[in-house]
Amino acid sequence: MTEGKQPIIEIRNVSKRFGKVTAVDNISLDIRAGEFFVLLGPSGCGKTTLLRMIAGFEMPTEGQIIIDGQDMSLVPPNKRPVNMVFQSYAVFPHMNVTDNVGYGLRISGISKAETRDRVAEALELVKLGGFEDRMPDQMSGGQRQRVALARSLVMRPKVLLLDEPLSALDAKLRAQMQFELADLQDKVGITFVTVTHDQDEALSMASRVAVINKGEVAQLAPPSDLYEYPANRFVADFVGSVNIFEGTLTLDEPDKAAVDCPGLGKIYLNHGVTGPHGANVWIALRPEKIYLHVPGEGKAVRAAAQDAPDGHNLARGTIKGMSYLGDVTLYDIQLEGGHIIRVSRPNLSRHDQEDFTWDDKVSMHWRADSPVVLLS
């Protein structure tokens, strides 16, 4: 995925209020040319509103949206250099595929010959060659989406906006389209901005993700950073599953830190945390980063992970729940303090899921670079 340096969309202090409700609260962010940018968040967080403001269907209550250096405050949607693929696809039911895809070109007065060529090109791009004369009601949802894609791409916009593109597709098609959309963006090279509530989609397709919560940006980062370095509890919890424990920062030096969690135990980190000593913090620990000790194996494992002082990064508990998912097994373990921690253990051999059962007493540990300290 090629990325330029110049932001193609600048969102500056944009807010949107509907009466007393604030849908978007003073958001500022830059979208770079050529990237696959995803707005991720739960329903009602304001991400769709933001997208519609970029497209021009809502006007910001405050702030500015600048596309390719041009302020869009007075520019109506039909004059913006962006095109949108709507959640319902909005394919015109009374026109066939060719007329649908060529609609925008006809409106802008492009010659019939050029329209024909560009429509053919767009249909090839979305793999709908041969569907020229089909009517929308003769096509499946996935095919109609491609028509909507072709219809927008044929306009050669600077930015393509997609509103929940995969939400109406079944699981298999969704996986396929994730790949195809990323591939398409790579081929065409224009900027894609997508809105979704599905974190899997976001992680797999995006070059950068803005996690939106209650109208504000909770974190803006590439997918791996979101997962491994969440900025706050919301992001840690929204992206992937996570164990979160409250605690107090007891040690904070440039190359190490320690947190005391009543529910979990003593946590040791092999990097510094910038936070005042004694501050109230949270520890986020991903389930797959915790090693469950199989009885008899304990000493060997412990020996291998000697990157923390004694008594740190250890926990004991009783297995209260198990979910066998085929590739991994999830264990819900009740710790000595009463809290439940979730551990994800890969089934590396075919009988790994037999290693544990309900009410087994187990011990576990994790590496010193695994926990993440969250200040909010």
Partner: protein, 278 residues
């Protein structure tokens, strides 16, 4: 009757008494019309004894100048009223569907009044209105039908608005936004996306308006000047004063016209569509 399978408890319509009831009702509804149509071919001045097949009363009806003039007038009124009601009704429907504006509830309520207010009151209101305005009564055709046409439009367009509004409810707004996103102006989006969507309701609305106008008696009666003859008024005077079999012939022609229009609408909308618009 000829049941091969036993009648399930809920299959009321297969029960004999139910079928008889419906049959009798249909008989009640259609018998007078069918008899009328049959007797329009009867070679007799009276409606009672069948004396032989003839087309002479059709001839007489078609040669009856005032009857033909009345028919032409009524058709003209219906035609003009339909076109204008269609435009006003469609605009009203879009206005109510799309916009929020002060006093919207009031406007909406007032718009349904012409349907609710008894016809006699509407007829009276128009009579008084045109009298007060000193509406000219000696204009050339078709302007002499203007008063009647205006009255018809007033009670037809709310029906059209209702039908179009129902269809608008199922419109996907994103299609309109998509058109705009692709560069269409407000007008182009309306023309290319919204209009095609409401087309079936426009046809249904037009047929509804046409039938309502053609069928109307009371309002036409009150707004017809002394010199304008419309079909219902003409037939009324024929029925009142001299029951000639020409009335049967003229009526049969009108019935056939109505049924033909209905079947055209049927082809266009499907049987379900027609039943649902009412």
């Amino acid at each position: 009757m000829f049941n091969r399978t036993a009648i399930a408890p809920l299959e009321y319509t297969r029960k004999l008494w139910m079928r008889s009831w419906v049959g009798l009702t249909m008989l009640f509804l259609y018998a007078p019309l069918v008899v009328l149509m049959i007797f329009s071919f009867n070679d007799s001045k009276r409606n009672v004894m069948w004396k032989g097949f003839t087309l002479k009363y059709y001839e007489k009806a078609l040669n009856n100048d005032s009857l033909v003039e009345a028919m032409v007038n009524s058709l003209t009124i219906a035609f003009l009223a339909t076109i204008i009601s269609l435009v006003i009704g469609a605009l009203a429907a879009v206005m109510l569907w799309r916009f929020r504006f002060p006093f919207k509830g009031l406007v909406e309520g007032t718009m349904s009044l012409p349907i609710i207010v008894p016809e006699i009151c509407l007829g009276v209101a128009f009579l008084i209105f045109f009298a007060k305005l000193d509406w000219p009564t000696d204009l050339a055709w078709p302007l002499n039908l203007s008063a009647i046409t205006i009255a018809h439009i007033t009670f037809c367009f709310p029906f059209v608005a209702m039908v179009v509004r129902a269809r608008l409810a199922s419109f996907n707004r994103e299609e309109e936004e998509a058109a705009k996103d692709l560069g269409a102006t407000e007008w182009q989006a309306f023309r290319d996306v919204l209009l095609p969507h409401i087309k079936p309701s426009l046809v249904a609305g037009a047929l509804l308006a046409f039938t309502l106008s053609l069928d109307d008696f009371v309002i036409t009666f009150f707004t017809s000047g002394p010199d304008t003859i419309t079909f219902p008024v003409k037939v009324y005077s024929m029925v009142r004063f001299s029951v000639t079999p020409e009335v049967n012939a003229a009526s049969t022609i009108l019935i056939i016209l109505t049924v033909a229009l209905t079947f055209i609408a049927l082809k266009y909308q499907g049987v379900k569509g027609i039943a649902e618009t009412h």
